[in-house]
């Protein structure tokens, strides 16, 4: 459904991403691992339509992506919740922009917040929330406008280990019920292995895809305790040591 063909992008004459191709299937999840500054955010910006590639082509459901649309939800690095809107209005914002009537969008936003265990916080403003709560609001907002693809830029990187694993579980179970495919960017190998059906390594200067790992046991119950989980982590670490 998402098709990226031979995309290159640079800033101020310096190439950041070179000749990158990748396809995402409707029932899939992809996690991209890469060092800081390798162009992960840049790639997501282009997929979301916020930036244009210098060369190459991005297609979503057979249509060229050239501007942001409500089909693709984007959870930004550092949340991107608006401090001047209540939690409820933040979640409903995508629907408001889409033109959904107030009563309906409020109802959807309330339900979405409830699903993520945030009922009772509707009237709060983001600055008083904890990091984990903010992130759950951001997830609620992403799902509220019923997207066909979810992009996430290091969504859990500023959280403590426990909150982080809880939210990873939340994300995975949400994926299982909604089956909205996602493309997630992270620095953490553990997170990549837990959340990615396919894991891509992005590195080099300019960056290319330097490794592809199929995660056959992805989504199994208690996956974090299995040998397969640790084996894949070790394999990826080894490859990273060679290519970074």
């Amino acid at each position: 459904m998402l098709k990226i063909s031979n995309v290159s992008k640079g800033f101020n004459g310096k190439l950041v991403l070179e000749d990158l191709s990748l396809e995402l299937e409707p029932d899939e999840t992809i996690v991209i691992l890469g060092p800081s500054g390798c162009g992960k955010t840049t790639l997501l910006n282009m997929i979301s339509g916020m930036e244009k590639p210098d060369a190459g082509h991005i297609e979503f459901n057979e249509l060229t992506v050239d501007s942001p649309s409500t089909q693709i939800a984007f959870i930004l690095q550092d949340f991107g919740l608006l401090p001047w809107k209540t939690v409820l209005n933040n979640v409903a914002l995508g629907l408001k922009i889409k033109g959904v009537a107030k009563k309906e969008r409020t109802e959807i936003a309330r339900r979405q917040l409830k699903d993520l265990g945030l009922q009772g916080r509707e009237k709060d403003y983001p600055p008083v929330l904890s990091g984990g709560e903010k992130q759950r609001v951001a997830i609620a907002r992403a799902y509220a406008s019923d997207p066909k693809l979810l992009l996430m830029d290091e969504p859990f990187s500023s959280l403590d280990a426990i909150t982080r694993e809880n939210l990873q579980d939340t994300l995975l179970s949400t994926w299982k019920t909604t089956s909205v495919p996602y493309l997630l960017v992270t620095h953490s190998v553990e997170e990549a292995v837990f959340l990615g059906k396919r894991i891509l390594l992005l590195s080099g200067s300019p960056s290319r895809i330097t490794g592809v790992f199929l995660n056959e046991d992805f989504g199994r119950p208690d996956f974090r305790q299995t040998d397969a989980y640790f084996r894949l982590i070790r394999t990826i670490r080894k490859q990273m040591g060679e290519s970074w």
Partner: protein
């Protein structure tokens, strides 16, 4: 209730301290230059029952309020446009920053010649002074909005109009209100100045007229009246800010 307490306590404390200082000064200046605070306040309270006082108060209040409204209506949108668009900013900001240090009050004769001696000129000069402050505060405020917030709105598919509605405008509001509030004192000062000539209404006139007649009690009625007007304007801007920018309330907790 809590809100009222928060306003009342500092005010009553200020009034107490002010009373003692005034009393001490009045005792020191033995001549009839400075009336004792209870005489002045007594005269003020008595005048509160007269239509005459309220006529002046409303005339001054109207001028100050109109000036604030005009300043806001012109400067707020322009400040947002300058903050949001580099092109608009490049066009307008050289002019704004070159004229910024000019004390606008000296333009009063020019305004008087163009718009006459009436209320319009009095209002416009205050608008000009206030408008500059609002313009610069809003422009800088909008420039300082974290790009992540704007990206987040854009990523939801917002068009340019929606980006202003959900992003730039709410981000700019507190800056505009703060400028308005901080400069309400300046507008009262200028109001006093422009009411001291070519008018028979307003608290400024009341003060100057009483002074000329050496009627010091009446003069202090005018002075206290202007102070009251200052407080009312400042608190209205404050309350309006709290209503329009509720997120500021929770953040400050």
């Amino acid at each position: 209730m809590k809100q009222i307490k928060k306003i009342l306590i500092p005010y009553s404390l200020t009034i107490c301290i002010f009373y003692f200082l005034w009393k001490a000064l009045a005792l020191a200046l033995t001549r009839e230059v400075l009336p004792h605070p209870e005489d002045a306040v007594g005269a003020f309270i008595l005048s509160l029952a007269t239509m005459d006082f309220w006529g002046h108060f409303v005339a001054s209040g109207f001028r100050a309020l109109m000036a604030m409204v005009i300043a806001w209506v012109l400067a707020f949108p322009l400040g947002i446009a300058m903050g949001a668009s580099r092109r608009v900013d490049a066009l307008i900001s050289p002019f704004v920053f070159m004229t910024y240090p000019v004390p606008k009050v000296v333009l009063l004769p020019v305004i008087l010649m163009i718009f006459g001696l009436g209320d319009l000129s009095k209002i416009l000069i205050i608008s000009l002074i206030l408008g500059y402050q609002v313009l610069v505060a809003v422009r800088d405020g909008v420039r300082g909005v974290h790009p992540q917030y704007l990206n987040s709105i854009r990523s939801l598919g917002a068009n340019r109009f929606q980006l202003f509605l959900e992003g730039y405008i709410p981000a700019a509001l507190p800056h505009g209100f703060t400028a308005l509030r901080l400069n309400s004192g300046v507008s009262i000062a200028v109001l006093f100045f422009v009411e001291s000539f070519a008018t028979l209404t307003g608290l400024g006139y009341l003060i100057m007229d009483a002074w000329g007649r050496m009627d010091f009690d009446q003069m202090f009625v005018g002075i206290l009246g202007m102070s009251l007007l200052g407080v009312v304007l400042n608190e209205s801007a404050n309350i309006l800010e709290k209503i329009v920018c509720p997120w500021f309330l929770q953040q400050r907790k």
